[in-house]
């Protein structure tokens, strides 16, 4: 068996020297569109903006 040598970790082996890799475009689109959707979601479920309310939604579903 080869003699086991324990070495300290070399951080430059964990990451590339430079950060030439930019954010993947697809991921960036996902990131931004989720923020936009989040804002839209909060807007659409805020009673003072859209008139939505849990009680009203229930009353409507009970009519069916």
């Amino acid at each position: 068996m080869a003699e086991y040598k324990e070495e300290l970790d070399d951080l430059s082996k964990f990451e590339r020297e430079d950060t030439k890799h930019n954010l993947p475009a697809g991921w960036l689109i996902l990131f931004i569109s989720l923020i936009v959707f989040g804002i839209y979601y909060v807007y659409s479920f805020t009673p003072s903006f859209t008139g939505w309310s849990q009680e009203k939604a229930l009353q409507e579903s009970m009519k069916k």
Partner: protein
Amino acid sequence: MNEYQYDYQTVKGFIVSCLFWGVIGLVIGLLISAQMWNPNFNFGEYFSFGRLRTVHTNVLAYGLGIGAEFGIFYYLVIRLTKRPLLFPKLARFHLWLFNVGIALAAWTLFMGYSQNLEYAEFEWPIDIAVVILWVIFAINVMGTIFKRKEEELYISLWYIIATIVTVAILYIVNNLSVPATLFKSYHLFAGVNSANVEWWYGHNAVGFLFTTPILAMFYYFLPKSTGLPIYSHRLSIISFWSLIFAYLWTGAHHLVYTPLPDWIQTLGIAFTLFLIAPSWGSVVNGYFTVESDWSVMKNKYLTKFFIAGITFYGLQTIQGPSQGIRVISSLIHYTDWVPGHVHMGTMGWVTMVICASIYYIIPHIYKTEIYSVKLANIHFWIVLIGQLMFSITMWITGIQQGAMWKMTNPDGSLKYTFIETVTANYPYWQMRTIAGIIFVIGMLFFLYNVFMTIQKGKKELAAKLAAVNA
């Protein structure tokens, strides 16, 4: 190059301890899965589902999960800071206290001493012990990081720091309660407020005990075991900050359609959806790291553990946020879909990455090679099959339950009585028990492999010493 001797005693201790608690938690898991379809598997007061389910979740989360995290972090931190632990003796005490603590905690849960706050069931004396444990751990790890020999903080250390800080805040606030007797207390918060605090804790316990620590392992062991550098530093940075920022807003998705004020629910859901992005930041980073050389999937047996793990993390973090949306929540909340979701995370992501990390660490600290790569591969495929069977079965039965609860007759009355919606699950619950057995068998391969690697390391060391003395 080697300036000092690494001391791995505590790491070993935690790994062996977490495996011990893991076996106990898994066996109890099998028992409660059988109780779901046959009440005759409830044995009196102490072995009834209501108590055992809590023992199962806590022993696995705190005994296996956190135990492994303590051990692996002690390993990671000294490697990444290039110095010994600041207080090695304190770490030994930490190990000792950890095992006593888990044993006591399990005992109290068997006795029914429970705060009934999910994932924070321990009563106040155990809570105090947990806080002491965490403070000891924090002092040691943070101290070591502050006095490090390596200037740069690697990504794994970011996640470790975030874990230590956030868990401390979460655990202390949620467990504020007023003791009445030695093992009975009442939550400081009442009603709606109690629910909000509990799920702020509950969801972030998942985030900061099962996400950030596992990502810390992932970011260290993936490059170490493949020899490939992490794809993008910038992606790591954005993922990290947006993850820890957004997580804390999301607890209310556990309380959709409860009396919790709507605006908190709505905010919670919006941030929950956003969490897909930072989670997938790590997934993409992992995939692109390996993409530079896919041959490691074949050549380095550990790669597939990490890639499968991060894949389930990716699926988990799409499924989880979508469950938060009102329309989906209304169908699957309170059904078996949710345990299916949880087990994909715990069995497919957390356990997968922990096992792979242990596979990496054990040969390193015993200065040997793994006992059998073949057994490790068998372990991988068996747990993968068991986990998939488990999760998919639960999703199917969860949708069925949700649908049966909802279905109405043309005259507006409900189509099914409650008991009909229960018994319809039995075949699926039986299937789940089988899936659990398969998973446990896979884990036994893992345990055997680890045990044999330790024996091998010890034997080789003895042989070497004998050669020196001869």
